[in-house]
Each structure stands twice: as structure tokens, then as C-alpha cells.
Symmetry: C2
């Protein structure tokens, strides 16, 4: 790969991350190209389609979250670890518009694209199970309910632009519902 092409790829990824975080999925390719200082053709040389580009962004973000989840899964206190991760994801979604969009609109595609490489779902499930064994989360809470609540808070936090105060107090209510 030529050196300049590699430099441009990095620029494109950086610009895409920023623009998609700000404007969400509806951001035009031209805007990403403009911010990266390249032509649209340059983007299409690396990514066959718009979806491929934002999937690369989302997959990377999911990968990082999976790493955080795995890091927390061996924490001494399973309860705080679980709730900290939940809050972390919501905080992330508040600032990054793509992520919440991806959770809903392209959820299935992204899930399919990331299956096999790493296992964020499994990492979350470990956090949940450990917290339940430590009696910090009610036993009848399953993965479907947990993912539903995660999606719900992420979507609303992003769409309405929850400030930190509202995010904290609202999550406190949800966490109270999860606790025994």
C-alpha cells in the first residue's frame, strides 16, 4: 500500500469518526470527504459503500467497549463493575450519534459483521452473571431485558441530549430497578 494512500485512510477514519459522531448516519459522504480533505472517490477506494465505512467505525467502537467489559469482568466487586459498564455505554452513546443509530437501524447487520471476531455480548453476560451471583442484581433479569434497557437509555440519551445530571439521576432509577 502506497504511503500516501495509508495517510489518507487514516484521515478518512478520523474524519468519519468525528462527523458520524456529530451528525449520525445521515451525514453525507461529501461531508466526511470534505473534513478529511480528500475527494469522495478516495473514500470509495477503501470502502465499497457508505455502510461499510460506518460499520468499520461502529465495529471498532464495539471492540473497545468489549475490551472494557472484559477488563471489568475480573474486577473485585462485580456489582460496581456491572453498573459502571452500563453507565459507560450510555455516556458513550450520549456523545456519539452513530452508536445509538447503529443500535437501532443497522443492529442486525452490525451484529452479523462482528460475530466471531470478538464477543461483546458474552462479555456483558459475564458482567451480569457475576453481579447476580454477588447478589447485586436481581436474579430474574435476563440478557434480553438488560439489552433492552441499555438500548433504551442509549437511544433516549442521544436523541434528547441528556446532560450529566439527568443521566445520573435517570440511571439511578434504572439501577434501583435492577437491584434486588
Amino acid at each position: 500500500m502506497r504511503a500516501d494512500a495509508q495517510r489518507n485512510l487514516a484521515r478518512v477514519l478520523e474524519a468519519a469518526e468525528e462527523v458520524l459522531a456529530r451528525d449520525g448516519l445521515s451525514a453525507p459522504m461529501r461531508e466526511i470527504a470534505r473534513q478529511a480533505g480528500v475527494g469522495v472517490g478516495t473514500i470509495y477506494r477503501q470502502f465499497p459503500t457508505k455502510e461499510a465505512l460506518y460499520q468499520a467505525i461502529v465495529v471498532d467502537r464495539k471492540r473497545r467497549l468489549a475490551e472494557e467489559a472484559r477488563a471489568l469482568s475480573t474486577a473485585a466487586e462485580p456489582g460496581p463493575a456491572f453498573f459502571a459498564f452500563f453507565a459507560r455505554v450510555v455516556e458513550d452513546a450520549t456523545a456519539k450519534k452513530v452508536f445509538a443509530d447503529a443500535l437501532s437501524e443497522a443492529g442486525i447487520d452490525v451484529k452479523a459483521a462482528t460475530a466471531g471476531t470478538y464477543d461483546i455480548r458474552g462479555a456483558i453476560e459475564t458482567l451480569l452473571t457475576r453481579a447476580q451471583r454477588a447478589d447485586q442484581v436481581r436474579a430474574e433479569v435476563g440478557m434480553p431485558e438488560l439489552l433492552a434497557l441499555l438500548t433504551a437509555t442509549c437511544l433516549a440519551a442521544q436523541h434528547q441530549g441528556w446532560d450529566e445530571r439527568l443521566r445520573t439521576s435517570t440511571l439511578e432509577i434504572v439501577f434501583n430497578g435492577l437491584r434486588p
Copy 2:
């Protein structure tokens, strides 16, 4: 107003309700016209813009929900009344795509358009206050948190298509968080 025009208006409203419920805000005007069996020009005779049409639909739905809220606000048991209304709104959002879209995207416009005619916010606040006085909802829950949770569950329920089982179990967790 001519008789046929009146008939067409009714058809348009009915078709718009159905199409917007199914496809959300992104539904094209042509699709609504097609389903109503009229030309697009006929819709534009009654509604100056697409936004005006779906606002008419959303405003009507909010009006009906406000009526339900007011009806419940004199119920004998404030706790069940409050939670029943919450579940009712989420159930509604699950089936009607426009509504959740409206909660987020055009929330401010809709709020402005409906201000004065009726007071859904006030009706909800009454339900909350009564439930709190009856010690069925924790005192530190405010309207911002309540609306945040309502929006969150509505958005996720619609985007992910929660079935009745998931909706019930997830709301149970949220309700547990709201209870003292």
C-alpha cells in the same frame, strides 16, 4: 367544503395514520397518496407540507393520550393508575412508529404546536404527584426523569420491536426502580 373533498380528507388521514404508523417519518408522501387512492396534489390541498400532515396525526394521538391521562388522574388507586398509563404509552409507541419518531426528532415542534390546546404534560404530572403522595413512587423522581424514562422505553420498544413478554418484563424492572 365540497362533499368529495371531505371524503378525500378522511381517506388521507386514515391512510396517513396507517402508513406513518408502519414506516415512520421516512414514509414518502407518494405512498400515503397511493394508499389513500388519491394524487399527491390532493394531500397538499389540505396540508401545506409533509410536516403539517404528520403533525396533525401526532397531535391527535397526543390529545387522546392526554384524555386517558386525565381520566386516570381521578382513579381510586393512584399507583396502578400511574403505572398503567406508563405502560399504555409504551404499548402505543411499539405499534406506532410515528410517535416515537416524533418524540425525538420533532419533539420541540410538536410541543410548540400542541401548547395551549391541551396539557398532556400537566396531566402526566398530576398522575406522578398523586402516585407519590400515595407512596407508590419514590419522592425524588421528577418530571425530567419520568419523561426521560418514558422516551427511552418508547424509543427502544419501537426500534427493536419489543414483543409483549419483553415489554412486560422490562417495564417491570423500570417500575421497580420507580417504586420506593
